[in-house]
Symmetry: D2
């Protein structure tokens, strides 16, 4: 495939000419309307690429054999830092921590938890209003009422909010209200949903499917990118393996692996990965040491009363303690990297 | 949970009284409007059940601890034979074989394949018009044009058609046109889609998720049943394991296991399970020997030209040969079971 | 690699000359002293092979890129039928059924079970004397006393016996006493054990490792073959997957797959694979339909009293019923294959 | 089960009386001759335990339902720090790093690598002389010649050595020569080998089986402990999952999990886990952050010439850089823990 990178102010005529050039010579052109500047992905274009490079508005041509060209470092060695919400920029200084309850259960529960995580230093409030439950008779979330409570909590705390979206028809109306949209592990290859998310101007946190390879995960991200939405954050949350001693098997090796393949940021969800409260602190530290850009953690003001996922929820004091350790480690890792860069790490 | 089985002509007032009774005593009532007679599922009803049994229109109360009560044999030891299309009844005599191309590619390809599988004895024509593809740049199916071609092939051959539906918003318009709707492995826990399928009057073939347990699979079926649609056919298509010598790992043991837990019919897809043409015949025979009610097989009039899944597609002569073996084995299995029933099997 | 096939009466001088030729030209020679005629495997011989072919005693040269040359159909398209014990030839007519208790527990238990399985038509008596148990405090088998009981049962019934060997130091003394040696799933890559088994003149039933690929399984068989023992029977017994609804996941697709790659016979153990008594009959039939050469089944005269694996053991009447179905199906499969061969299967 | 803890100078008569007491009342007694003081494990003792407590030499009785009593924190909340070799005590200050080549290939290679890892701060030299290889024709290690080279390298550098033992018959002669014996992933449930290792006075590094649950792993350790050898170090080296983007799936969550269940130390092998050189540094840091007591890392003086596992071997400068980062992180983690202990971590 060939990715045609265009200037940020390329006009629609220039884009159309690029497409025409590709299609007139046997390829298929797909316009990717990123706000930071459009791209055109040329598929099956086996003819000479040189004429493309000469067209007005074209910045660069990138050839790749990768199955996820827009997500790949082959094409974009790096990308501008990603703004997740007003002034909240991923990858600057401290790791980003998103925290909050598994599901929004009540006004009191959400506000108390939101204030608690804010006070401990969380940057984003998480909370599920639409819940994917294995059982049709289980609590399915408060729905739009839950969204209203999240908006109230955002107003009360100033924290941007992230919530899961499960159906393509909910994307358009939900996007303007929330700061970040989340795709759950069961929907990683819900292609209708991914296409709908490609059309909105909101960052998307894309959880890895519980049986998805790294390649499939990055191709799922590519669906969103190719639709025109360049802000995708990957989230490792554990995979299914034969061993049930933890709820899932947290696969931290994918963090440095994905970062070598892709410019997309990666965060880790140690709560769903382990399913056990006492493992969340060590696995949060391990995730950061492996290079994660952030964490998403389940916190509940009263875990023993939680309608779902209580055993894997931290209470507020435990979360505060975790944040202390997280900040300390993040500082140390940055210093260690710096020291290594200066060559001090090698001297004995 | 308690399932309240009602007479087939129970009226809405009688149903309402059952719900009221449940809810007035602390439970939650969920009406299941099956055409064959409504049910009411009572969740969290810990009070005495006797008053319910006395209400007009109530046939029986079924108590169960099972997470999929409507799908479970605990509640319905057996169900009436399922009619998949006009006169096509599952579980009567010969195993049901659905066959056709992975995706509808052209008028010629579809009609030629449809005539071939019909001549060899297939009962249903399969063909994908909406294709779930890992890669956003891969061929995504012909969409509604593909549906039109399927309708033409149905007219030409008389075969009922089955096709995949990927998005909740496609269910309502698609259902009246096709005979059976298929849910793919990646969508087994797409709960929005399952809910939409619960509201239509069409049989649903529900493929097992590639990393789904038997319990999760039956709960996914329960979503459709609980929505009011009682015609769900389960389809085993292989799971993900560590071994890549076949495309997936065909888990045939779940056939007798599921049949002991549930009254729902089970068919097997040996094409996606193995991914290798030469393994389809032996695994089709094995599926029937394990007790499958039918098979769904990829057939293409020219597999070497297929746009997807060519290596796992049979050509028409190979499919005809397979049907000969299938018919022979089905007869032998029925005879063996009959012989065992008469006690001849035990004598030496 | 190159396999040099030699005449069955090639003498040691002729073999030595082949080795010398290989090593003088940069390769490594490994003599495989099969009783049916020696082979020499040449590793890393990149020089011209023609001079080898001209040496006395050489029948044929086989080139292969396969990692298991002696086990591969690349080298030996087929092999002479394998004699497992006096007059018991695998692959002739009816499928071979090995049956008996998981472990030898007492004289009474073993003799009663042995007589029962003999009367129902089993060909080999199985029974563990050395038991691989996950827990060091669990019953570890009767050891050599168990072997003595097996010998008594063989005398009483005429059935050849198969038993597991766990340690390399037990191979030499045990081999002369028993008819078939079994390698358990945990020992499939116990290379010291495999090497010891390569040196004895007894057939070896090699169970697939619970997390072993087909390629690793065939390489494990190659260890035994390369040691000089040509009689290896492969046994699929289920692999580990994420789903715990059966004890293991029975992977029947490997039967036709392995048979396309290798000339070695394959049997199936539905008892350990499923771990549930009620699934053994259907999965035995499925194994035969998939092409298995035989079955190995746990039978106990009183399963409810078994010291281990009771829930997956058949009692004698259930085993007799299974044998009836097995015989019936084996006949039908042979007839179906014959019919297909005559072209009748294709006609509609 | 009941574990009877005895004084370190309990004599054999006292131990015999404990056994007699257990067996006279229906239990089975198993003497565990730990050098630090014997234990007796009572299995199936359902009678009153009080008389046991009163016997001379008995320190304490520990009741447990755990399947690995000696390895469990239920029985021994903690154990004395483990001395791996003269003066090398695990769990004191800096994490222990074992490093060296996958296999001993030559005098030059081993000595150069040994000097390199010593200079960079490794505490133990690893090197395989007996290699478990999937293929019988692959390089199987230098055997006893490799051991001789390891002894020379120990003399030259002062580093204690660890090497793999594959066969029970090698344990007794090998133990006096090496400092630490290693059990590979394929042998985790080679019970003959584990029993042999229980009888020697050498620490054992027990790698987790690639498809073993945590419970099976700890029971495998229990085999060694129950044989009389109390020095077992657990080693996580990745498990098999569906995803092949790394060689294995490193399961770091088991570190805090195992540490909550058992007093045994845990080290991590990021080399075999990831199979990719560039992932070793981040995963080493992650392992330490998750709480590992040490690391075992493949280092080769010239990885591109390695006979096996070259792609996952670090060269010496890369290992030196890793050690710099390891030391830095270890310090920071200790400081972070200390800070949290003093309550500073919670303050904002």
């Amino acid at each position: 495939m060939t990715v045609v990178e265009m200037t940020c102010n390329a006009n629609s005529l220039e884009v159309a000419r690029v497409c025409e050039n590709i299609e007139s010579r046997g390829g298929q052109a797909r316009v990717v309307p990123w706000p930071e500047g459009p791209c055109v992905v040329a598929v099956d274009l086996h003819a000479d690429k040189a004429p493309l490079a000469a067209l007005p508005g074209v910045v660069a041509l990138h050839e790749t054999k990768c199955s996820f060209p827009l997500a790949s470092r082959d094409v974009f060695a790096s990308r501008p830092a990603m703004e997740l919400a007003d002034g909240l920029i991923l990858g600057q200084g401290v790791p980003l921590v998103m925290a909050g309850p598994c599901s929004v259960e009540s006004r009191r529960q959400l506000l108390e938890t939101a204030r608690g995580v804010k006070a401990s230093g969380a940057s984003v409030l998480r909370g599920g209003a639409f819940k994917p439950r294995s059982n049709p008779y289980a609590f399915q979330g408060l729905g739009s009422e839950g969204i209203a409570l999240l908006l109230e909590a955002r107003k009360a705390t100033g924290l941007p909010i992230i919530t899961e979206v499960m159906a393509p028809e909910d994307v358009e109306w939900l996007a303007p209200h929330v700061d970040i949209l989340q795709v759950g592990t069961r929907n990683m290859q819900n292609f209708s949903l991914l296409k709908a998310l490609g059309r909105v101007d909101r960052p998307v946190l894309l959880k890895r499917g519980m049986a998805s390879t790294v390649d499939e995960w990055l191709q799922a991200a590519e669906y969103i990118l190719a639709g025109g939405n360049s802000r995708v954050v990957l989230c490792e949350r554990g995979i299914r393996s034969f061993d049930k001693s933890t709820r899932n098997t947290l696969d931290l090796s994918v963090i440095p692996l994905v970062k070598s393949l892709s410019h997309l940021p990666v965060v880790v969800d140690p709560s769903h990965a382990t399913g056990r409260r006492e493992l969340i602190l060590p696995m949060s530290l391990a995730a950061l040491a492996a290079g994660a850009d952030g964490l998403i953690i389940e916190v509940h003001c009263a875990p023993e009363e939680a309608l779902c996922d209580g055993p894997q929820s931290l209470d507020i004091p435990a979360f505060a303690a975790l944040m202390g350790r997280v900040r300390h480690l993040a500082g140390a890792l940055a210093a260690g990297e710096e020291e290594a860069r200066c060559g001090l790490g090698i001297a004995i």
